[in-house]
């Protein structure tokens, strides 16, 4: 589904290379995890895939079901079915959560040539999904992420994911800033979305989240490359011994 080949990326503003040849393929229905030390390029990878400005792709490709991702706008990537759950969801005063979500959903539908959802159906869908994420009506009415706690922001990301029903979900350190209960809630939300035609790329520092969201494949990223790939046991090894041994072994 998601195929990344030899991806090289540098910052636009300064002459600094962040990704130095990333190769990665996530197949339909799979959950992949990317772990790695700070500064290894994990978040950059997620931003480049989603289309954030400020990065320059100097080599390589990234495709979603064969369609080139890197040459199109963020909204077009979303319409193709790509979704990034932000590490730091943005607060947007003055724009209501519901207005935003409905605008986003209908824009995606329109881009795919589908019919727009009407207000009543939309409300029903959102309420139902919000309930399972313990998001109350009051939160839905507020401006996007304004006044939300860290946990509420992350749950709101998962709600957006549940409503937009993307096929390729990237979760960028969704566990950061969450207590155990909140993490469980978020993980349950993600697990509920697991499906045979949907794939996940979970970026995390810790094994903890992977206890809840069981990955099929684990990658270790360091200095802008995937340096090791394995099964769930790789995450356990990181948890026990840190990255030092693995990095030494591949050096």
């Amino acid at each position: 589904m998601l195929k990344i080949e030899n991806l090289h990326v540098q910052l636009e503003e300064e002459d600094k290379t962040i990704l130095k040849g990333v190769d990665l393929e996530v197949k339909r229905g799979q959950v992949h995890a990317i772990m790695g030390p700070n500064g290894s390029g994990k978040s950059t990878l997620s931003y480049v895939l989603a289309g954030r400005e400020g990065y320059e792709v100097t080599q390589g490709t990234a495709t979603l079901d064969g369609a080139d991702l890197l040459g199109i706008e963020p909204e077009e990537r979303a319409a193709l079915g790509l979704f990034l759950a932000f590490q730091y969801p943005v607060e947007i005063p003055g724009v209501g959560n519901m207005t935003f979500l409905r605008t986003a959903l209908n824009a995606q539908r329109k881009a795919r040539g589908e019919e727009e959802i009407n207000a009543a159906d939309f409300l029903r869908v959102v309420r139902e999904k919000a309930k399972s994420l313990d998001i109350d009506a009051e939160m839905l009415k507020r401006p996007i992420n304004v006044g939300f706690s860290g946990g509420e922001k992350k749950r709101n990301e998962i709600l957006q994911m549940a409503v937009l029903e993307p096929k390729m979900c990237i979760l960028d350190e969704t566990d950061s800033g969450l207590d155990v209960d909140a993490m469980k809630l978020v993980a349950d939300g993600v697990n509920a979305l697991r499906a045979k035609d949907r794939a996940f790329l979970v970026i995390t520092h810790y094994q903890r989240l992977l206890d809840h969201i069981r990955p099929d494949v684990v990658h270790i990223m360091a200095d802008g490359r995937i340096v090791q790939t394995g099964g769930p046991e790789l995450a356990l090894e990181v948890e026990r011994n840190g990255y030092a041994d693995i990095l030494k072994a591949v050096a």
Binding site: A50, G51, R52, E53, E73, P74, E75, R77, A78, A79, F83, L84, F86, P89, V90, I92, P93, G94, V95, T99, F100, L101, T103, A104, L105, A107, Q108, A111, P143, I144, Q160, L164
Partner: protein, 429 residues
Amino acid sequence: MAVPAQKFDLAAEILTALPAPAGEAGWASAARGAAAKRFAAMGAPHRRDEYWKYTDPARLLASQAPVAARISTDETPTFAESEQLRLVFVDGVFDPERSDALALEGCEIQPLAEALRTDIHWARDIFGVLEARSQDAVHRPLAALNTAHATEGFAIRVTGRVKKPVSFIYERRSDAADAFLHHVIRLEAGADLTVIEAGPAASRLSSVMEIDIADGAGFHHVRTQGRDHERLAYTAMFSRLGEKSTFKSFTLTANGRLTRNEQIVEFAGAEAVAHVAGACLGDGDFHHDDTVFITHGAPDCESRQVYKKVLRNGAVGVFQGKILVHSIAQRTDGYQISQGLLLDEDSQFLTKPELEIYADDVKCSHGATCGAVDEEALFYLTSRGVPRGEATDLLVLAFVDEAVAEIEDEELAADVRDQLAGWVARHRT
């Protein structure tokens, strides 16, 4: 020629061209004469005057009103859906044929000209009086000129809580015309009135509203200034607030080559509340100036100024907001925010907050910001599938909404939001 002489020569010239009307009551003629004298003494405003530094008044003073094409739209005029007493003006002249009868429970409504011909009239204590009081602090020659000359407008005395708004609807038929409007409004103790103004009035407008609000009374004002691109406007609202009274005013300005909206608020009684707000949208040849002067002359009053300007393609926004707190005005609560959202690098927002405080126990905060659309927010919205244009619209509307939220009446606020959304969609990149 030196600037000062030019100012006075021009003032004299203008007064000759705009004589005071004949046949008015003695008190009215006296008020006209005093206003003409004030204008002559102050001289015509000039770019070198401190309060006209950012806005050149030359086009407001030119001998001819400019040609301004009337915008043709198939939209329902603003606020047309809500229940109201409709008073229609065409090119600044009241049209009784197309207006409702001047009858509204809790309120006496009379054309200004009629009031000024009446020997004993309540308007005597307000007409030109509130305007003149404000001249000590800052010269407002264009308001004095309006008092000296304007005959169109209404004198409204409110004695009760009026259920539906009085709506001034300003239509245009001529491509080039001057309009001078002057409304005088008196709210007796405990009375309450909402006034709506909608439309551009003329290719060049001078409008003054004097509002005297007695103890415990409330005055609400919502205005949209039309969408004609080439029109010019100078407006000034003078309000005097009694104890525990309320004054709230909101203005939406979309388009217009030159607009100067002044708000002059005086707290005369304790525990009164005044909120003035404005949102403006300008694209291209657009210059919009909000000039506010709030005088806290009584203790425990609350004033709030919320001004938002969205500017693109070289549009210019100006804000001059002053809070003067006299030593008697202890426990004043003053808030002021002025913000410009620049949609490109060609536009300008010039803002000048001024605080002059003589009381020692006050809470006054002010903020002025100027910036572009937040790229982080834009990426967040587009990453969810909202196209960049629509995402920008959402952020622009969110930006102005703090000002729109000052409108208490939800129906009127919704109408303003529709206007904003329409403009923003039409002017998308």
